[in-house]
């Protein structure tokens, strides 16, 4: 049986600028990545990777982005991600960097990885946390985070924007 196989690349947007978080949106990230692929791999690479390219999931609070591309061209995409230097939206340009966390064949594997990764991040935040209330809220969210069948987003997580 022949079917189109996709690769899902999970990345994280890192930025020094706190205002960058508000302008993380799917079209801006998609355009920035396409532009980087065009610069690094030329017309051929751009066309190759754009066949089935979309931003599948985006979380502006944590800066998590899930991109989809064809299996034949995911290496071109992954090699061009370090060349994404700024995000542009609403005529504002913010410097940023994309960190690749995981490459998976299905959304489900990326979701499972993301839950484990977020759990580990919450544990690290717990260690660095100074306030008792924040500790309580992190502990509560760690205990409640799980893959439930009804939800399609990745588990229940609360985020501590104060300690990030």
């Amino acid at each position: 049986m022949v079917r189109f196989k996709n690769r899902y690349v999970l990345c994280e947007v890192l930025s020094d600028d706190p205002r960058c978080r508000q302008c993380i949106e799917d079209r801006a990230v998609g355009l920035a990545v396409r532009d980087a692929i065009g610069r690094v791999h030329g017309d051929y690479g751009l066309a190759c990777c754009s066949i089935s390219f979309t931003v599948k999931y985006l979380n502006a609070y944590t800066g998590t982005v899930l991109l989809r591309c064809r299996k034949d061209s995911y290496r071109l995409l992954c090699s061009a991600l370090p060349f994404v230097r700024c995000l542009e939206s609403r005529a504002q340009r913010y410097p940023c960097a994309l960190n690749t966390l995981h490459v998976g064949g299905t959304i489900r594997t990326c979701q499972k990885f993301l839950i484990r990764y977020n759990r580990r991040q919450l544990l690290m935040l717990l260690q660095n946390c100074t306030n008792e209330e924040e500790r309580q809220s992190i502990r509560k969210s760690l205990l409640s985070c799980s893959l439930t069948e009804e939800q399609s987003q990745s588990g229940d997580e609360e985020d501590d924007d104060g300690t990030e």
């Binding site: 692929i37 065009g38 610069r39 030329g42 017309d43 051929y44 690479g45 090699s79």
Partner: protein
Amino acid sequence: RRELPDGGARPNAAQFKQLVVSALRELHGEVGAALPVDVLTYEEKTLSAILRVISSGLVKLWSALTLLGFYQNRRCAFRVLQTSPFLLALSGNSRELVL
């Protein structure tokens, strides 16, 4: 060996190399432009040259040269006459070799 039919302008060797690298950059981006291509010989009279490239880069180079259309706003085309892994094979046609 490549042949480049042209209208008026005659590039010299450095401009020819610049042309090849810019063709690679358009089609294959920075990665293509970084492909090590050497111009072994270049004749300005016949506008023909012998290029050397690593064997894994042959497809990229050939496709980039095929799709290059313009030189200094004049139409031009690259014609590939012969490719071979040995330089000696490019010097003559082995079918007409008289022993």
